[in-house]
């Protein structure tokens, strides 16, 4: 670790550790999960770092709006980290921030496809108060085109245009958003890998370790879902997944796309995660039907990523690893909170 990286990352290091201390404790998370109703949940959230974002009229706080308000905190944190992270690490944080831009764009495209109104879409969007090529106004104007082709035409000049315009004929022919969304997802993740590749050695290793684990998990889960839920063919699965990888190679993805013995292959592909070894087996040691174990596998993979992030915080880290680890943990926390809030919305 060079003296320059210590100096460059000193502020980010302090900031991330301060932010890390603000993450919800396991006890509080458990309490939130047990909250009997939305009111109790809100009063508990008002005792956390999310409190300032919940200070709006109670009548406006629908479950969807609560999630939106909570997401505002992530926007603030990204703003700080983008400001303090030195180049070229900042580019990676910016690229990570762009994930929400992709999500927003996908929400608008879904809105166009389903004929949704702006008020139906508005609070599904992630708040992006800064560093975005797609501010709210632009997204609204895209939705108001009410036409997929015109909306995509308006993205000319942005990196999303070539991805979407190439996928548009398939959308028009098949009437499903799948080709558009997967094109955006693949394009984004490739850009993220390119961004990692441009980092200096001291930053690249932790970025590959953390984001690589995350992207590998996404890639593997995509392959499994395409296979088990969408029943796609081998060649489609290969084309709809990434060749860029950290530990799970394209050959292993091909094996998953082709093999009839997924339960046999998975423990080998994920040999670096011991918890996976039993995921396809029932309590009695018999093989579970394909697909029934996928949610459990997803949990194990993301728990593995979380553990790697926490491990980063246990080390002295004057590199990009610490902000990345924090941002991944913060995103997971929001993901969990969203699930809790949505469960209240359903009940």
């Amino acid at each position: 670790m060079g003296a320059t990286s210590v100096v460059a990352y000193a502020t980010v290091q302090a900031l991330c550790r301060a932010l890390y201390a603000d993450l919800l404790t396991p006890d509080l998370q458990a309490a939130l999960t047990r909250a009997p109703d939305l009111e109790t949940l809100l009063s508990q959230l008002r005792l956390t770092a999310y409190a300032p974002h919940l200070e709006i009229a109670r009548q406006l706080l629908t479950p969807r709006r609560i999630v939106y308000q909570l997401r505002q905190r992530l926007g603030v944190i990204y703003g700080k980290l983008i400001r303090f992270t030195p180049e070229p690490g900042r580019d990676l944080i910016l690229e990570l921030w762009r994930l929400y831009e992709i999500d927003n764009l996908k929400a608008v495209l879904r809105g166009i496809a389903s004929g949704a109104t702006w008020s139906e879409v508005r609070f599904l969007l992630a708040p992006m108060p800064h560093h975005t090529a797609l501010p709210l106004d632009t997204l609204l104007r895209l939705l108001e085109t009410r036409d997929m082709s015109r909306a995509i035409g308006r993205l000319r000049g942005l990196p999303y245009y070539p991805l979407l315009s190439q996928a548009l004929p398939q959308y028009e022919a098949r009437g499903t958003l799948f080709p558009l969304e997967i094109s955006l997802d693949l394009g984004y993740r490739r850009a993220l890998w390119r961004c990692i590749a441009h980092l200096p050695n001291s930053d690249r290793a932790p970025a590959e370790q953390l984001l690589g684990a995350l992207l590998d998990a996404d890639n593997l889960l995509w392959a499994l879902r395409f296979r088990l839920y969408y029943h796609l063919s081998e060649e489609e699965i290969i084309n709809y997944t990434l060749t860029e990888h950290a530990q799970i190679t394209p050959d292993e993805i091909r094996a998953i796309a082709r093999s009839d013995d997924l339960a046999g292959i998975l423990p080998h592909v994920l040999r670096h995660i011991p918890a996976v070894q039993q995921v396809t087996l029932s309590q009695h040691g018999t093989l579970l039907p394909p697909g029934t174990w996928l949610p459990a596998l997803e949990q194990i993979l993301y728990a593995h990523v979380r553990e790697q992030c926490r491990q980063t915080f246990r080390e002295a880290t004057f590199h990009i690893g610490l902000p990345l680890a924090y941002l991944i943990l913060a995103e997971y926390e929001l993901h969990d909170l969203t699930a809790i809030i949505e469960s209240h919305a359903v009940t």
């Binding site: 104007r141 070539p162 190439q166 796609l232 060649e235 489609e236 290969i238 084309n239 060749t243 091909r254």
Partner: protein, 647 residues
């Protein structure tokens, strides 16, 4: 000039039926400052406020639709008209739908024609590599034993497509690259058509849309495509002419509609911030006293049922009263320097005139040179005159530059410096490079005067607000000033300067004022007629008070010494100019053209680089040493409601 405009606290009760017209009048008057209210959608937002807020959102959506139509017709918003009337959302909606119905078919037709043209051009480009092949394209479409697809593929997908087909015999021939896309020909056995098709589709290989009518060899198809392009160009020209006709017809109406919708949105957003009682809206705000009669007249003309109550603000209300500063236009730039630091409170003296005196003085002292100063003054005058179109936005800063330039020229005359030449003009006072100690001592003396001015300002402020305790015992008011002066007197006498006051008198003043500073808190409490309390005990209070006095002493000392930099920069300015001459002599022969070029460039560097540093130092001295003595800057800026945002 030293005081802000007198304000009146105005409370309005507006009947529900008149709220729109009354708000429009309030905003059009440009004098009503709405008191801080809950933002729409805030914690205490009422249902009515939320309804108005939603209505404002509806207007915002309408505004965007108008902007879209205007963009499609290439119409810019232009500046707002002098007279704007509100519009009901239903009426605006009806108009917008009409405009959309007029414009959108044309725009869509134009878009379609352009897309078609792009398609033809793309097909033309894609056929280019096949130009030498004497194969009928129709035959390529009707292959019996071979599956073949000619299409475009994102270059980044080529490797994956090959990888996905590695179990099959196939042929993937890249024909040409078109940006991020590859034009490829994918061939394989007809029996594998399903697999090849799935692989091509999932790799986003889009077949080239060669229309059925383009048959024959690629050469023949190209000719047909070129004819198609000519026809499409003609269609595009027709649509563009039609859009231009529509633009000319609708430009005024669309612009007017846009501003009316914008104004209506602003009005509804404002009403969403009112308090709502039963059938009445309660509005709380501030109006300059001289503007109230006209406003009253306007509102009562709308409805005599509008209740208007106006009262001058009580002293305890001053913190909430917005301040509107009134300075001559030449001082406006100095005013913006003040407001950048903070807004003067209501009733507080406006430090702008004082800043307008001290800022150029400090700058001039540090940057003394007749030539450099005159040049800066010239640029300042040029900015003020607004004769250079590109600099018009900087015009307000011309006043500062002019004043600073003149002061710098004045000090330049005192220093005998002209573009760094120290031998052309006689020094009317001293040359900083020859009498460094003199200029440093003068700077400290000037600093002491400036700090004293700050404290006198603080005393005046305290007198105006009748805060006698603060006036007498504050660290930056009377007690602080006497303590400061007594210490300066003692210090000066220690260096052998004769003063009409004896050491005993000065020591006595220092002791009494020091004691007043030490016990300022209980003394102020006593002055208010209350019994002083020491919640942590007298001992703790005394220890804290002693350290506070010690800190005051240190602060006064360091603040005064800070001004020594004025002298240091005056010396540095001379030294830097000298360096320019040394460099010129080293690099060139004295008197040659090169010599004068180096001198000129060096002088420009000194003006630009040192001018910037001196400006920053001046601002630092003003903000941190001077303003901290008397100016809190906790006031609220007067922001009257307007129908349309400025700018």
């Amino acid at each position: 000039m030293f005081k802000s405009r007198a304000m009146l606290h105005v409370e309005l009760l507006i009947p529900e039926t008149e709220v729109l017209s009354a708000t429009e009048a309030l905003m059009a008057s440009g004098v009503f400052h709405l008191a801080a209210a809950e933002q729409p959608g805030g914690v205490k937002a009422t249902e009515t406020a939320v309804n108005w807020h939603n209505r404002a959102l509806d207007f915002a959506a309408l505004e965007r639709r108008i902007l879209t139509v205007m963009e499609e017709l290439h119409i810019t918003p232009d500046s707002p008209p002098a007279d704007i009337h509100l519009i009901a959302p239903e009426v605006a909606q009806r108009d917008i739908v009409h405009f959309e119905q007029e414009a959108e078919p044309l725009v869509e037709a134009l878009d379609a024609a352009r897309r078609h043209l792009a398609l033809l051009q793309q097909s033309t480009r894609q056929l280019q590599p096949l130009l030498g092949i004497e194969v009928d394209l129709g035959q390529l479409r009707e292959l019996r034993y071979t599956y073949a697809v000619l299409g475009t593929l994102p270059a980044s997908n080529e490797e994956r497509l090959r990888s996905s087909l590695e179990q099959l015999p196939y042929l993937l021939i890249p024909l040409r690259r078109d940006g991020d896309l590859l034009v490829v020909l994918l061939c394989g056995a007809r029996q594998h058509a399903d697999i090849l098709e799935r692989a091509a589709r999932s790799a986003y290989l889009n077949p080239l849309p060669l229309p059925e009518q383009y048959r024959g060899t690629p050469k023949e198809a190209l000719l047909a495509l070129q004819e198609g392009q000519q026809r499409t160009h003609q269609h595009i020209a027709e649509y563009e002419a039609e859009i231009e006709r529509l633009r000319t017809l609708r430009v005024l109406h669309l612009r007017s509609l846009l501003w009316r919708v914008r104004a209506s949105r602003t009005v509804t957003e404002t009403i969403a911030r009112y308090d709502y009682l039963r059938h009445l809206y309660a509005v709380d705000g501030w109006v300059p006293a001289d503007a109230l009669p006209t406003l009253q007249e306007t509102l009562l003309a709308i409805s005599p049922r509008i209740v208007i109550e106006a009262s001058p603000p009580a002293v305890e209300e001053h913190a909430a009263v917005p301040t509107s500063l009134e300075n001559p236009s030449l001082l406006r730039a100095f005013q913006s320097l003040v407001t950048t630091y903070g807004q003067p409170g209501y009733g507080e003296l406006d430090p702008t005139p004082l800043l307008a005196l001290t800022f150029p003085f400090i700058f001039g002292l540090m940057f003394g040179d007749v030539g450099h100063g005159a040049l800066l003054a010239l640029v300042g005058a040029l900015l003020l005159s607004r004769k250079v179109p590109a600099w018009r936005g900087l015009a307000p800063w011309g006043g500062i530059l002019l004043a600073c330039g003149l002061c710098a020229a004045g000090f330049g005359a005192l220093y005998g410096s002209f573009f760094g030449f120290e031998n052309i003009l006689p020094a009317l006072w001293l040359r900083p490079l020859e009498n460094t100690l003199g200029v440093l001592l003068f700077a400290v003396g000037a600093g002491a005067v400036i700090l004293s001015l700050g404290m006198l300002y603080h005393i005046l402020n305290a007198a105006i607000t009748r805060n006698w305790g603060q006036l007498l015992f504050d660290h930056s008011a009377l007690a602080g000033l006497l303590f400061y002066w007594a210490l300066i007197g003692l210090g000066v006498k220690a260096f052998g300067v004769t003063l009409p006051l004896s050491n005993g008198v000065l020591g006595g003043v220092a002791l009494v004022s020091g004691a007043a500073l030490t016990f300022s808190e209980p003394l102020e409490t006593l002055l208010r007629g209350q019994r002083p309390r020491f919640p942590d005990g007298v001992g703790t209070y005394l220890i804290l008070a002693f350290f506070e006095l010690f800190e005051t002493l240190l602060t006064l000392f360091s603040n005064t010494l800070s001004y020594v930099r004025m002298g240091a920069f005056a010396v540095a300015h001379g030294a830097l100019s000298l360096v320019v001459f040394i460099i010129a002599s080293i690099l060139t022969r004295k008197g040659s053209v090169g010599y004068w070029i180096v001198i000129a460039l060096g002088n420009l560097f000194v003006i630009g680089f040192e001018g910037l540093i001196v400006s920053i130092q001046t601002l630092r001295l003003e903000y941190y040493e001077f303003f901290s003595k008397f100016f809190t800057g906790n006031g609220t800026r007067y922001r009257p409601l307007t129908l349309l945002p400025k700018g």
